[in-house]
């Protein structure tokens, strides 16, 4: 006589299988939700860091215009910058300002030409989001060679510019606060006719 499985055995196996599948599905579901959250915050992180690229670009095209001053504070920095593309009609000096808004938890970029009007507070392009803390610092080059420079909390020297600007950020994340920093050397644009490359052939 051929003996198969009894109904009790089949029910037991089905129950064990259902339990295992249920536990696995719940674990996998939680894992996928955690992955989605991590992706969301990573996208926000990428977006914020990409936004700071604009600041780096602006810092590398500082205008030598003496009418516009560099001004740096803990939560904002404004500086003269060359706007537009070199050689184009809109290639002109202007001002760029990066300001941290602790209420909205964002850093905004405002740019306006020398002859234009300063934009109102709260306007401008948001370059960093979900930042619960932000501090700008300014690099003062040393007087003598061989010494180390100093990072200052404010830049009020209207005659000179700092050697660089540092942004310390506290980004909101699913796992807590992420602290990071970016350093941007200040590069003043020199008109092309003042540059001579390899003249004389030897250094």
């Amino acid at each position: 006589m051929r003996r198969g499985f009894t109904l009790i055995e089949m029910l037991l196996v089905t129950a064990i299988l259902a339990l295992a599948t249920g536990v696995l599905a719940a674990t996998l579901g939680a894992g996928i939700r955690a992955l989605d959250t991590a992706r969301f915050f990573q996208a926000a992180e990428c977006s914020s860091l990409a936004g700071l690229e604009k600041m780096e670009q602006d810092m590398s095209r500082i205008s030598p215009c003496r009418m516009l001053k560099f001004s740096g504070r803990a939560m904002s920095v404004s500086f003269p910058v060359m706007l537009g593309e070199p050689g184009s009609d809109d290639w002109a000096p202007g001002t760029a300002r990066y300001a941290y808004d602790p209420v909205e938890k964002v850093i905004r970029r405002q740019v306006w030409p020398y002859t234009g009007l300063e934009p109102a507070d709260g306007s401008g392009e948001t370059v960093v989001e979900r930042s619960v803390g932000c501090r700008f610092m300014f690099y003062e080059c040393p007087d003598g060679r061989g010494a180390a420079g100093t990072w200052l909390n404010e830049w009020a020297d209207g005659t000179n510019m700092p050697g660089g600007v540092r942004v310390e950020l506290e980004l909101e994340r699913n796992t807590g606060i992420l602290r990071t920093q970016r350093t941007f050397p200040v590069l003043v644009m020199v008109p092309p006719d003042e540059e001579r490359v390899n003249e004389g052939g030897r250094p």
Binding site: T180, R182, G201, P203
Partner: protein
Amino acid sequence: MLSTGIVLILRAFETSLATLAQSRDAMWGNLLVREIIAETRLSLRSGEDIRSTTRGQAVSGPCTDFRWERIVEPASGLSGIKANGATNTLSQVAVRVWRDGSSREYSVTTYLVHYN
């Protein structure tokens, strides 16, 4: 069929997690490289003598177990650049960043001009 399906789903999940971790490592590794180069540029601009090999560990960002190495050498074989009558010095800066326990590393070699 059920077990094969479960294994395939778990494998896909593991792959996507690993890819996410790799892309995050790459992003923060490259940012650390750029940060070191920016600080090197400031040090050279200040006239600091940093013709040497320096090693360190990341202090900010999500991956504080990143380690880095920076080698600064004068690029004596290359011509200097004259600007406004002054000859500047060219330095070769090589930065390498890696994470403990990972075979992947991120490196950049570039040249920086500093004033004499």
